[in-house]
Symmetry: C2
Subunit: 434 residues, 2 copies
Amino acid sequence: MNAVRVGVVGLGNVGSGTLEILARNSAQIERKLGCPLDVTAVSSRSAASRTLPAGLAPPMVSADWRDVVANPDVDIVAELIGGTTTAREIVEAAIRSGKSVVTANKELAAIAGLDLWRQARQAGVSLAMEASVCGGIPIHAVLREGIAADRILAFFGILNGTSNYILTEIERRGASFETVLKEAQELGYAEADPTADVDGYDARSKLALLASLAFGAHIEAAEIHTEGIRRIGPEDFQYAAQLGCTIRLLCSARQDEAGFSLSVRPALIPRSTILAGVLGAYNAVWVRGEFGADTFYYGRGAGSLPTGVAVVSDLMRVARALREGHAGNMPPFGHVELDPAPAVPVAQQKHAWYLRFRVDDRPGIIAALASILAECNISVDAILQLPSGNKKNLPFVITVETAPGEAVQAAIARMAPLPFLVEPPLALPMESGL
Amino acid sequence: MNAVRVGVVGLGNVGSGTLEILARNSAQIERKLGCPLDVTAVSSRSAASRTLPAGLAPPMVSADWRDVVANPDVDIVAELIGGTTTAREIVEAAIRSGKSVVTANKELAAIAGLDLWRQARQAGVSLAMEASVCGGIPIHAVLREGIAADRILAFFGILNGTSNYILTEIERRGASFETVLKEAQELGYAEADPTADVDGYDARSKLALLASLAFGAHIEAAEIHTEGIRRIGPEDFQYAAQLGCTIRLLCSARQDEAGFSLSVRPALIPRSTILAGVLGAYNAVWVRGEFGADTFYYGRGAGSLPTGVAVVSDLMRVARALREGHAGNMPPFGHVELDPAPAVPVAQQKHAWYLRFRVDDRPGIIAALASILAECNISVDAILQLPSGNKKNLPFVITVETAPGEAVQAAIARMAPLPFLVEPPLALPMESGL
């Protein structure tokens, strides 16, 4: 049977993994599809200097993406350059040329996915984006098709491998955030500018995409409350362990009568939950459905070949649709249309809380803090203090019972003038729903 | 848009869960599909006495499955009666009538899935069977589409919830197999005749299906070496813990140059692997791909609603294909055709081994056993004995380095005449590949 023809734009990390899989696994791909998946065009800004994998000799190798998009021998364009400006031009131009598109671009999918899908639907082509979230985990396929019949009540994700690596190293070795970040940068696990990873913005884009898929609602990434991991230290893991918990940068999403509650922030989770076993640069998603109960998905969050698997699996699915003459039938968000999402403001989201203080020790500290908590209608659950010889800069923890975020923030604001506080209190939600 | 019309045959555990989801989640299903999924016919041997969920009033309710299959207002037949004789008649009759079929029937899929798929393909209809393995985990969707581009090197599954419940209760409480089985039967977790669960046959059917999907090879369930969990006692978990391991009824599947190595048997797995965290009646599958590295999937193995999610998700996928006019395009085993599978005989499969003896203590035991192992070219790794006041019926353990199963079996045969052995040695593979 005739080959389906692929054009690949971008030969960076993901692009080279994609080409390697298309070259090395071509026989099995053909056995699954019933036809070959041929690479007929490739572009990269430094196209001339790129070495292609053995066995791949696309007729077109160009430095200009427009050549790939305009090529009549390309049926599907894989947009693998990242970023949102040129990438968007590429995707829109491909759709206008009547070509289906596979993208690995989470930022683009998060800010423009719905709009691009509408364009694709109108043009009668497919848009697929498995690789945009959790490269190695087929979480799009799971939510869109595998458990499509369920109604998702909540899900929790560890969606950023770099920050999970940093947190689990702080936990394992008792090192500081700064030390581990520096090492991770030296090893190439973290970027020179680590903001997107350690401040939660990368995870936020992914959470927005998964929430749209899971709930059929249009979630704006920019509206999701996001906190990073810079303030988490080894002492927090020690206190968490005393509470039977560990700490992860948790992406959480829930729907109930009040609306959608979403956030990205470090949170305490029980050590007994399977999510707590996710170490290093792995990603995972824990899903609670109304009918199917809880399921859990785990794998590499990134990497050239794991993400390449997601891209090529999407190419195979789109190729099958093209051969059957029905491109464009499967909405990338799993729903024919997305509804607007009534969001529960983070201030109203309720949790039990872990409050960690750093104080210069003196009499009356507990009394002062406890009075403020009481004034804010917050019930103290436990007071923990690990043994320490220090009287200066002493960490200790108060856990409190379920309270809305705004009550906790109000209490923290009232605590600001207290002379014994070395820094503002750190408040982490304690996630018991998994 | 016109509804797609479903006929449900069988209103037992899975059938009633399927109807409940179709009734309670109909609005969301329509938002995903773009059309309703209507139940137009239902059959059950005791149809008259069944209560259907609120909101469902199918025009046809019959005691005879033939009425559903012959009904011109049915587009897709869901076969949910189980067993292999009548179920096969139903599926074949539905295919002959030009109807697509969704089945939850692992035995039928394992013994006749390939043949039924050929019939479906010839008739231009779909055959789908997500619910046949690990009800709550969309492992078919994952292997068939989500990571279709990968080449699966190996996978390991905990595929039988009842035996996993029994093993984890033995581990947790130190109770005997017999005690826990009896309780499980009283609680309805285990059948009056527990053979299919505790002797591994249920897991074997599921392993055969997953291996066909993962490898594109035709795997006969009856040819898979299968051992059950009846001999596992609390002392085995104690010894395993000393080795940093736990014990699970492990379904394992590997492919390498020699062919396919498959087995179902209790095995030691490292406590540090995420698979060791699977407790109670849950199922899980750990997959190693050549490109995507390791991924892991976890959820309910059975149950009315979790399995219903799988059935209804399949119905949605088939409904979408019917509406697009291309039923029958997605092979249920993920490959256009399955190849014959060269199997590595279990006797040649190599592992490190855990050998547990029960002896009446006397001098010379270690010497006698160690000599036989040496004669069989097996290297001893460690000798473990937990403190015990007993001299009679004393358990102790020898672990040995990697050796083929046949060498271990030969050694066990030579040990048979030894007068101090209370029972034949128990040999469990130690699985280090995960």
